[in-house]
Amino acid sequence: MPGSEFVMETKVPVGVALRGGTLAFGDKVIFESLDLDIPAGRTTCLLGPSGVGKSSLLRMIADISPEAAANRLVSSDGGAIEGRIAYMDQRDLLLPWLSVLDNVTLGARLRGAAPDRQRAQALLAKVGLAGESKSLPAALSGGMRQRAALARTLMEDRAIVLMDEPFSSLDALTRLRLQDLAAALLAGRTVLLVTHDPLEALRLGHRILVMRGSPARIASVLEPDGLPPRPADDPNLHGLAAAILAELAG
């Protein structure tokens, strides 16, 4: 990937571990005493049926859940987790009044820093939006908006990236292309990707955690052969996807 050294600053990978994570909404316990390991520099995919609590778990790690009081996070290097996380939602969350470029540099402005427009332009070129930096989000297609959101996530240049079903609202072809793009641009970072699509998890994850039950628990851990992004037409992946679906259904 030419020029990637310019847009991707080197970050020492840092792993995250959750110990005894507990979350309840009123009387309903989503999960309790949950242990989760997110290894440094690798992509961990969290799979599970809708409503199992995987997005809540991700929000707890991102510290944006109001119920995150029971959060017990430790980093592999012993440093604080706070300020080392970038978050990408299933909605693009682009601010409609800002241009694509201003959306990508939002983080710097929120922190009162001068935005690095040159780097933002380079990142937009990486995600194929070089000509759209002045466009408003409303002028973009769903796939383009999500690519802008990916550029904004990368612009944060954080060691840990949390992604909550980032490609779920896209059509199949756009989703495959964005999966490849994300895998290339996020290589070497610590990524936790929540998805309900077994094939997506199998394409992108070094490690796949299947979450199910009530209260939810990590029911199984899978480490497929090969490196992500794995080809979508790999028959082995489809076999594994069928097995995961059967597990989720069971």
Partner: protein
């Protein structure tokens, strides 16, 4: 690209034509009413008489219109600024909001017109009492509309801002207010400003009716007392034209300033 520009121009021409046709129909109906009922000119003068009175008293009407316009513009500036500052303060300080918001709603239940004599007593017959009157009438719709917008910020944007400012010294809350909450609330504020533009002339004229020595409201009362009904209608016509111009100017300006919030109503 030429097609959309042509479409926009055609739409504008159609809009202007519709306005002119509506105006012509209104004038024709007015003349028909005068002719049909045979009403005396000192009860309802016809449009021609009113136009004649307007031309004959153009200097007088213009002088008073300029004062009313100044009252409206100053009232809009003061009322809108106060409303915006109040909404931001109420959104920033939850305790103040809990105490002041119910008080604000109760205060709004008092008819502002009933306060006009008191304002004239306190602030005198000059500009200040009319500006205050217009400000008071504007303040509430602007405050409530803007506060409503500030309260309904997309939570996903705020969550994103929180992850971006986590671990930073200083207030992420202020950054989120400045860069997310306030811009996101601008369409709601625009609704409040449109209401303000529509009611500001009412405030100024009511103030003039209660006690003044200048302005279109004063001119109307004065003409009424002297049975110069054609002049009264001429002043009323200028006031209406002024109010409509102010409203559409503000509406146009707001549409230009908020291009990311297009009108989603069908233009059929």
């Amino acid at each position: 690209m030429t097609e959309p520009i042509t479409d926009t121009m055609t739409n504008k021409m159609q809009s202007i034509t519709r306005g002119l046709v509506s105006f012509a129909i209104l004038i024709a109906a007015w003349q028909a009413l005068v002719w049909g009922t045979g009403v005396e000119f000192f009860i309802l003068p016809g449009p021609w008489l009113v136009l004649h009175a307007l031309i004959a008293n153009l200097e007088l009407v213009s002088r008073h219109a300029a004062i009313t316009l100044l009252e409206i513009v100053l009232g809009l500036l003061c009322g809108c600024s106060l409303g915006m500052v109040s909404a931001i303060s109420l959104s920033w300080f939850p305790k103040v909001r809990r105490w002041l918001l119910p008080l604000l709603v109760v205060a709004q239940a008092i008819p502002v017109f009933a306060l006009a004599p008191v304002l004239v007593l306190w602030l005198g017959y000059g500009l200040a009492s009319k500006v205050m009157m217009a400000s008071l009438i504007i303040f509430f719709p602007v405050t409530t509309a803007f506060l409503d917008g500030l309260r309904r910020t997309e939570l996903g944007w705020l969550d994103l801002a929180r992850t971006m400012t986590a671990g930073q010294a200083g207030s992420g809350r202020w950054a989120a207010l400045r860069h997310i909450r306030i811009p996101a609330a601008l369409p709601a504020l625009a609704s409040g400003l449109r209401v303000a533009a529509a009611v500001a002339p009412i405030g100024a004229v009511v103030g003039e009716w209660v006690g003044s020595s200048a302005g279109l409201g004063y001119l109307m009362l004065h003409a009424n007392g002297r049975m110069q009904i054609d002049l009264l209608f001429a002043a009323l016509f200028v006031l209406a034209a002024m109010a409509v111009t102010i409203f559409f100017s503000i509406d146009w300006l707001l549409r230009r300033l908020l291009p990311w919030q297009p009108d989603s109503l069908p233009n059929e």
